[in-house]
């Protein structure tokens, strides 16, 4: 995540979040060169605005020469104003008469200008070598407010303290008022950080990993959605083209026949009826597509009336019997006793039709058994077949949109049938479940409360 962590340039420190305010204790001039040169090199290379306030043991000219040895186009960057290297005396002159609040506000203003000019943020260092003992208390109070000021801003601040000028108590003050301290002992830099900071950094690291995982998961889900959409578009165009093709052929055929000689009325009527059927087929497909957008944008509207589910299922099954017979399925309906409830007639007919159409496709010419029962406050509609069944891994998936057991195979349709069944059941406050074992048939059960909740 590019914006969260910045390279500090100092190997012992590694990457830092914006808002970091830390200190270093140096002994020799070399210590400063070792830390500040790579610190600013990293800032410059990562498009940050930099401010280096120098102090003994070296001045602005020394600093510029040393950084110039590491950053080849430093002059150009200075000219552009990406980095300012200021001697502490000049800096002190600018700030000495100002209150701590003004100085802090000065940092924030500088940060705002850096962002306005297109930099990622502000990286700065100050040196306290010039501090007189009498100023110490005020200065430490100022430092204590810096951490709070920097927090939430795109600022990284490194304060340099000369080890030789700090007394024991001072070291404690300094460490206390920074997030962590960098010290050099026997040549190696070492990081001294508070327990709280350690925990926070670990937390940040963990959140980073989690965020990356989430991004990966979301990306995979989006890619999958795109793949399903593309597959759907290909299926949809095939499905829509087929009735358009037959409609056009019936009409073309009639026209050609008429051009030769007038057709007998009965023959013409039969052929026109076939053309009309294709219009109905197209209308049903278009309605299915409309159902998808209706259901996706907040549920299917229902027009309920008091009706007998048994009667409805007997009628709808009768209308599907021809389709099932062609598929080699023998249908039995067990719905003698009236089961009365308040439901949307057209939608429930669609449920029966879709479940039976699904059986015609997948029941492998076995027996299909339809049952309606009253179960206390609910009604159940069961459609059972003895076909090939559905593998457990696919059982939830069959209710998804645009899913077909075998795309482009014997299925046909948009792969929306069972999805619409679920949408209709849920719109009634009910549910649909599937019980199946591969090779041992499938049972779809729709449960509907008899009164809308």
């Amino acid at each position: 995540m590019e914006t969260l962590l910045r390279p500090s340039g100092i190997p012992a420190v590694g990457e830092l979040p914006w808002g970091s305010h830390f200190c270093q204790f140096y002994g020799e001039r070399e210590d400063l060169v070792d830390s500040l040169v790579p610190f600013f090199k990293a800032g410059l290379e990562n498009n940050e605005q930099c401010l280096w306030v120098t102090s003994e043991p070296f001045g602005a000219d020394d600093a510029r020469a040393m950084l110039g040895a590491a950053v080849s186009d430093l002059d150009e960057r200075v000219r552009r104003g990406q980095i300012e290297i200021i001697d502490h005396r000049d800096w002190y002159m600018r700030t000495q008469t100002r209150s701590a609040s003004d100085v802090l506000q000065g940092w924030v203003d500088r940060h705002d200008r850096a962002l306005e000019r297109g930099y990622e943020g502000l990286r700065l260092t100050g040196n306290t070598y010039w501090l007189e003992r009498k100023d110490w208390r005020g200065f430490i109070e100022y430092e204590s407010r810096v951490t709070k000021t920097f927090s939430g801003q795109r600022i990284i601040g490194l304060c340099s303290y000369c080890m030789g000028k700090c007394q024991g108590k001072d070291v404690l003050d300094v460490v206390r008022n920074h997030q962590f301290a960098l010290v050099r002992e026997e040549g190696d830099w070492e990081l001294i950080e508070s327990g709280a900071l350690k925990v926070a950094k670990e937390e940040l690291q963990r959140l980073n990993v989690e965020l990356e995982q989430r991004v990966e998961q979301r990306t995979a889900a989006l890619e999958n959605a795109l793949r399903i959409r593309d597959q759907f578009l290909s299926i949809a165009s095939h499905e829509l083209k087929t009735p358009i093709t037959s409609l056009q052929l019936y009409v073309d055929g009639l026209l050609r026949a008429y051009k030769r000689e007038p057709l007998p009325a009965e023959q013409a009527a039969t052929r026109l009826a076939k053309a009309k059927d294709q219009c109905g087929r197209l209308a049903r497909l278009v309605n299915q597509l409309l159902d998808v957008s209706r259901a996706a944008s907040g549920g299917l509207p229902l027009e309920t009336e008091v009706l007998d589910l048994s009667e409805l299922v007997r009628g709808a099954s009768e209308r599907c019997s021809e389709q099932l017979r062609r598929a080699g399925c023998d249908v039995t309906v067990e719905a003698a006793a009236p089961v009365v409830g308040s439901w949307d007639r057209t939608r429930l007919e669609q449920v029966v039709t879709n479940l039976l159409a699904n059986a015609a496709k997948h029941a492998d010419a076995t027996k299909v058994h339809v049952t309606v029962r009253e179960e206390g406050p609910s009604a159940t509609l069961t459609v059972r077949d003895d076909g090939r069944g559905i593998a457990e891994a696919d059982q939830e998936r069959v209710f998804d949109r645009f899913v077909q057991a075998t795309p482009h195979a014997d299925a046909g349709g948009f792969g929306l049938g069972l999805w619409i069944v679920r949408q209709i059941a849920e719109a009634h406050g009910g549910s649909v479940t599937l019980e199946s074992k591969p090779g041992a048939g499938a049972t779809f059960m729709v449960t509907l409360p008899r009164r809308l909740p």
């Binding site: 095939h238 093709t245 030769r260 076939k274 482009h408 014997d410 299925a411």
Partner: protein
Amino acid sequence: VPVDQDQILLVEDDPDVRDALEEILEDEGYVVAVAENGLEAVKRLSAHEPPAVILLDLMMPVMDGYEFRRLQLADPRFATIPVIGISAGVLDDRIEAMQLTAAIKKPLDLKALLDAIRRCCRPVSRA
């Protein structure tokens, strides 16, 4: 052409498209046999005199047009029967290997289809 010999073998899974095409081709005076997928077409070829042309839908269940054509080309008895491909899908690079006489997209341009058929055989009669 003996009257009992099929002139056109129409291989199409959609019953309505199949029915409409059969009706038109018979109106035009052709003798038409139908099969609802590649496997049925293979069975039909093996049991009857070869037709003059095959109208082949490419996307079908059980055995699609691509697989049918592959089997047909591999069988010297049927390899020379010309095939006109019809498809509602995208005609992709697999088309090349199929060596089709013509490939026509759905919805069908009936004139183009009849022209392509006429190049393979003439109707025996006008119904």
